[in-house]
């Protein structure tokens, strides 16, 4: 049985505890990287990461792209939607098709 976790700044993620997810508040990048690795190696199938944090550690996020588990999914935090999540989907399209044919110019 796998679990789910949420990684990000405290204000954005504290509510997820109510749903029964593992909440991992982090403040600095180094500890975020450390925590993400720890979660990925543990029994976590889905790790939600706030967009704001993900933009600071893109290398770590991309590490898990081609692995079956865990699924690292970006979610908007309390400070607003940065568009990084949708950019990630766009990246998949560009990787597969060669150019972006789904999202157009927006």
């Amino acid at each position: 049985m796998y679990r789910m976790a949420v990684l990000g700044d405290k204000d954005s993620i504290y509510g997820y505890a109510a749903l029964g997810m593992e909440v991992c508040p982090v403040t600095d990048d180094a500890s975020a990287v450390h925590k993400l690795r720890e979660l990925a190696e543990g029994d976590f199938a889905v790790i939600y990461v706030t967009e704001a944090l993900a933009e600071r550690i893109p290398g770590e996020i991309n590490r898990y792209r081609e692995q079956m588990l865990p699924a690292v999914i970006l979610i908007p935090g309390v400070y607003g939607n940065t568009g990084a999540g949708i950019a990630n989907v766009k990246k998949s399209v560009e990787q597969a098709v060669g150019s972006d044919i789904i999202f157009g110019n927006n």
Partner: protein, 223 residues
């Protein structure tokens, strides 16, 4: 110039390789096309799902920000300290064109919907209840999003790999084999012709030796 031995054995070997490469190329191309078709369907789902989740989370985040503004840090912390609900996911791998895609089935510890409220209502504001409720509403979509987005990422990687292989076969391997096969068969033909000519020459010389045509001709002319 290709560096291959112009022998019959090498030719047979290369022909076998070319046949395999051509078959592999066709198969991989089919695989790529099918993966692409499925990927494009999936990525459209991914896009709409993500838009829906982001919209839902925007509302939830707004509510949480509101709730937090009305309460002290300690109250919030205490409220979520011992959550009643636990969430677990079961992962079943699904094979799509040799790509292993995880499928998530969510299991909550208790089935009671109100178990997401892990706190007594005395010290928290009503905004917090709204916030938790709005978050619970997007939860199912979030899991679905995780599944679809992961599938998209894995398939994109596989498509990229397959496309490289198809291109390598189509533009490098197959032409190279064809060039080598052509070179060997031309070389062999050339050898055959030169043997033929040599034999004809030898035959002429042997006949000359046996019958002395030339001497007779000369004698006739003189006589």
């Amino acid at each position: 110039m290709p560096t291959v031995n112009p022998t019959r054995m090498e030719l047979t070997r290369l022909k076998g390789k070319l046949a395999t490469a051509t078959r592999g190329h066709k198969l991989l191309k089919d695989k790529r096309d099918e993966l692409m078709r499925q990927f494009l369907d999936l990525v459209r789902v991914n896009k709409s799902l993500r838009e829906r989740v982001e919209e839902g989370l925007k509302t939830a985040n707004k509510n949480f920000a509101l709730a937090r503004a009305a309460m002290s840090d300690e109250t919030v912390e205490v409220a979520f300290m011992a959550s009643k609900q636990e969430i677990e996911v079961e992962v079943t791998p699904k094979n799509v064109m040799s790509v292993n895609i995880p499928q998530f089935t969510v299991k909550t510890r208790t089935s009671d919907e109100s178990d997401i409220y892990s706190y007594g209502f005395a010290f928290t504001s009503g905004d917090l209840d709204d916030a938790v409720h709005s978050l619970a509403e997007v939860q199912a979509d979030m899991v679905k999003l995780a599944e679809v987005e992961k599938a998209c990422q894995l398939m994109a990687a596989e498509i990229e790999k397959t496309r490289r292989r198809v291109n390598a076969l189509e533009h490098i391997m197959i032409p190279q084999y064809q060039r080598n096969i052509k070179y060997i068969s031309m070389k062999l033909d050339e050898n055959e012709r030169s043997t033929q000519i040599r034999l004809m020459k030898v035959k002429d010389m042997m006949l000359e030796e046996a019958h002395h045509y030339k001497e007779k001709e000369e004698a006739k002319a003189a006589g």
